[in-house]
């Protein structure tokens, strides 16, 4: 026999999936269910908290508990890095992606701060530097309308970016073409990349910054960008609200014994 709060949560989840409570609709108030004999306030509250952790509803004080809108996943394919977009056009990679998916675009949806910091271990390893070496960190918080969707922090070696727009401490987006364009103009053309992806529980800070509902995970992306000769020109760490993104990769099946997939 499952716990009472579990049974109640499952019952409500079932009703939500059946459509009894469409997205945006309020669930019964906690006290109503208490009066209806579903248990004490703490029990009903536990059920609601479980539904929130499962991503089905969001609760807010003074307002109620409403069924969450399921926003479609934004699909991130490697086409978002297409050189034509940032070299010849006027689009930053992440924005180009949004344009392609038909969503609106506003200039102030990205905030940025640049600072010179001591390289953390992961950053140092990616750049082949000793831990604590000075690197430029360019941190962005990206929003979709009012809602933050992810953070993205790029780390550069000082000798690559000093004197460029990238390290201009004035807050604001990198401007026409974005960071890759600035590097290109500085003589560093990006050639290939490595992306590493995993999901984890957000820290309390990240949950606040990204306004994550209780129980939502984040996906961390590590992107290493190389020039043709293998120099690491950028290492970036992204932290994404898990419910908003999917990643997509196409590749040939490798064949180390033949010639059928070796890059």
């Amino acid at each position: 026999m499952a716990a009472k709060w579990r049974e109640l949560a499952d019952k409500l989840a079932e009703q939500i999936k059946r459509g009894d409570y469409p997205p945006g609709k309020r669930l019964p108030h906690i006290r109503e269910l208490v009066d209806a004999g579903e248990g004490s306030k703490a029990t009903v509250h536990a059920a609601y908290k479980a539904l929130e952790a499962e991503g089905l509803v969001t609760s807010s004080r003074g307002h109620g508990t409403v069924v969450r809108q399921q926003v479609p996943l934004k699909r991130l394919g490697i086409a978002r890095y297409d050189k034509a977009k940032w070299r010849d056009g006027d689009e930053v990679a992440f924005i180009a992606d949004r344009v392609a998916s038909g969503r609106s675009y506003r200039r102030n949806e990205q905030t940025q701060t640049v600072s010179l910091v001591e390289a953390p271990a992961e950053v140092a390893a990616a750049h082949g530097l000793p831990v604590g070496a000075p690197v430029y960190a360019r941190a962005r918080l990206v929003k979709e309308g009012e809602q933050p969707t992810h953070t993205l922090t790029s780390y550069y070696r000082p000798e690559h970016v000093e004197g460029t727009r990238l390290v201009d401490p004035t807050p604001g987006p990198a401007g026409r073409g974005g960071g890759f364009r600035v590097l290109y103009d500085a003589g560093y053309e990006i050639d290939h990349m490595k992306e590493q992806i995993f999901a984890r529980t957000p820290s309390a800070d990240e949950a606040r910054l990204l306004q994550l509902p209780a129980g939502e995970a984040v996906v961390e992306l590590h992107r290493t960008t190389y020039t043709e000769d293998g120099t690491v020109i950028e290492f970036a760490i992204g932290v994404h609200a898990a419910s908003r993104f999917a990643w997509e990769y196409d590749f040939k099946v490798p064949d180390s014994a033949g010639d059928g997939g070796k890059p």
Copy 2:
């Protein structure tokens, strides 16, 4: 002022990260903290539940609350599909990957069931079939020792696999070379793939099957495998415990205006 249970949870999390409670060590019992004036039993319990949701500890009745062992992420690169491994050798892709990372390998770490089912929407779309068309589903549950790590269900079109070892209803692994080898022997050589990745909250069923601690997310992987002429020969859905895997992809930066990255 944060809630009392939040403060307690943060304090304990801090102590865990500082090393006061190394992995495997028991945290103070709930009643001890109640006696120490940290709050009522419900309050301390809420703090412990938060720590569990954050992946730091696991609680069990009659036993106590212990600090979780942080297993290193298993890195999944596309090299795990190397043709040389399954075509010329004796290894299944996922096992080859484990051998490469120096872990032990046991035959019975994978269970398998095969059945003919009506294609769900996603499967039908991937194979270009109408929803409900018959497809073979080959479902595996993969374990690392005693602990389940992920499920992987492959869907095949009947005309591709009928009469092969793949649809042998006898439970057990696919045998020498794995599924790709069977397809290769049947005249279908895999050539390229598409992988889609996203994280989400597990269903109650998945949490039970994968023995997930409260609050741990799953990563869902959709893998479409093509022959050289573009025929979809396998569509697979994997559900992975988020804390155990990372994915890794290398690729050229595309250039739709030139020749520098077009596959």
